[in-house]
Amino acid sequence: MDVKRVLVGILALTLHYTKKLLFGRKVVITILVGLFVAAVMAYAGSQSHAPLEDGTNMMDTLILFFFMPVMAMIFGSSLIRDEIDDKSITHIATAPLDRAFTYVGYYLPLGIAVAVSMVSISSVGMLAFFGQHGVGSEAFEIYLEFVALVVIGSFVYSSLFLAIGVLFPKPVMVGLFYAFIWEGFIGSLPGAIQNASIKHYLRSVGCGWVDFGSISRWDQASSVSGSAAVLLCLALFFLVSGVYLFREKELA
């Protein structure tokens, strides 16, 4: 295996798709979500008398609970599938790069683009909320903790939705089901069933990190180290599954 060719290929794909995802048509979605989050958090901030508690709850509910899987779904589920469907994948699939590395060349920019979008949306939301109460060291700490959580979440969810895009011919439908029904509903049910969602482990890590809000007192949380290990394993499992599916896929 020519390692240099592999690294150059992955880098070329990463730069190309990061630019495409961040500055292409999907930037409109990021802007609209950012505006929505800013408006909601600005209003919540204006009504809050316990800003650290309320601000944390808003970040937990709005960013981590809702928009994190939704944004990863929007960016990820159609990335490869759209190119397979419109056949623009041909010039990538006929490049001298093993498809396993080509897949990594899709995954890295997807994770980066989702992370940048979510960090931007989180930053806008935090400023809209805490800007009204003063951004002290505790608020800044909450901000950094949620930024870390959305970055981790971006790469885990991206690995899932990218694989869904290779496996299913209508990945957006599957993605919507997963993001809203599975993560949104199953992940909120009491008892062990909620452990079957990515959100559970992401919030469990948040429970150990964040000192304010309901997330810090969450009694269903798993351990931080165990949750981090599960998230890493899930990301690797989805990534390896996606690589396998993509290598075996016939691009007819």
Binding site: V8, D86, T90, H91, T94
Partner: protein
């Protein structure tokens, strides 16, 4: 396409190759030896030409039989792609990228970078005569420009083998002539081995006399085109011309002895011309278009005469 003992090695060799998609057969016991030079793959739409190319490129895997390209199996063999350039028959350009961005990505995937890549992009852009359009988004390109850009992408890394799937499809007569000249030049001056497909034998004939006829997933004949030509001349050839001012062109065409009939289609800007000698028709058409002062936007051949010949060849 027959090979002599001790002669050059075939660049592609397929034996008993079969590929099916569920109930649909793409290729059925397909066999071919492609030698260096320009080779035409001719067959009606749906005959299996594109399936064959996808197997050559390793985009799909065969259900039965074997295929070697430049001596290697193509499925899961990405290194082979360093030696192959592919121009598909479908629109594959990413519409949200400029031509230069598209070529830059391809170049980088082929380990080209820096000024060498920039120079090579300028060189191929000049060769396919795309000029300043290379910095425009490909979504705004005309059909002819898209074909040229796809050819530029296929030849950017200077591959040994160029595969051009229906490169003339949907292009106007002038672009058609330019692309045919370009293909001949790429073989003669740049020494690319080229496989070019078409459902119109006469287009291929203008580039090469070495052809393989593909019909219903099989190679039914291969070799020099002249013997097949005689068969085809017995079956008039239908060509559809679309554009502005085709009435004047139709009048002029009726005066030509190689034109059997001219018929207007449902749209007044579209005529079907039946010709007995397609070569003379294609040679004379640019002058007629100029004299008639008409603007041809699209020209394509129907498969019907080729279908008739194929039916004859397979005894149907």
């Amino acid at each position: 396409m027959t090979v002599q003992e001790g002669g050059p090695e075939p660049i592609i060799q397929a034996r008993a190759l079969s590929k099916w998609y569920g109930q649909v057969i793409g290729l059925n016991n397909f066999a071919v030896r492609v030698m260096p030079g320009i080779t035409g793959i001719v067959g009606p739409n749906g005959s299996g030409k594109s399936t064959f190319f996808k197997l050559v490129l390793g985009l799909i895997k065969p259900n039965a039989g074997s295929i070697t390209v430049l001596g290697k199996g193509p499925w899961k063999n990405p290194e082979l792609h360093s030696s192959i350039g592919f121009c598909p028959d479908y629109e594959s350009l990413p519409t949200d990228s400029t031509g230069r961005e598209y070529l830059t990505l391809i170049g980088k995937l082929h380990m080209m970078h820096g000024t060498a890549l920039a120079d090579r992009i300028n060189e191929v852009v000049r060769l396919v005569e795309m000029g300043k359009a290379v910095d425009r988004r490909t979504g705004g390109y005309s059909k002819g420009m898209k074909q040229r850009m796809k050819i530029a992408g296929a030849m950017l890394h200077d591959p040994k083998l160029l595969i051009l799937d229906e490169p003339l499809s949907g292009t106007d007569p002038l672009v058609r002539k330019d692309i045919i000249d370009l293909i001949k030049r790429l073989n003669k001056e740049h020494e690319h081995d080229i496989i070019v497909s078409s459902h119109v034998l006469f287009e291929i004939e203008r580039m090469t006399h070495d052809v393989a006829l593909v019909y219903r997933g099989r190679t039914i004949a291969s070799g020099d085109i002249s013997e097949i030509r005689n068969l085809i001349d017995r079956h008039p050839h239908n060509i559809i011309i679309e554009g502005q001012g085709t009435t004047a062109l139709a009048k002029m065409l009726l005066d030509q002895d190689y034109v059997v009939s001219v018929r207007f289609n449902e749209s007044k800007d579209s005529v079907t011309v039946q010709v007995s000698e397609p070569n003379r028709f294609f040679d004379g058409l640019p002058a007629l278009i100029e004299n008639a002062q008409c603007s041809v936007t699209k020209m394509y051949s129907l498969d019907d005469n080729l279908e008739a010949v194929f039916r004859y060849l397979v005894g149907g």
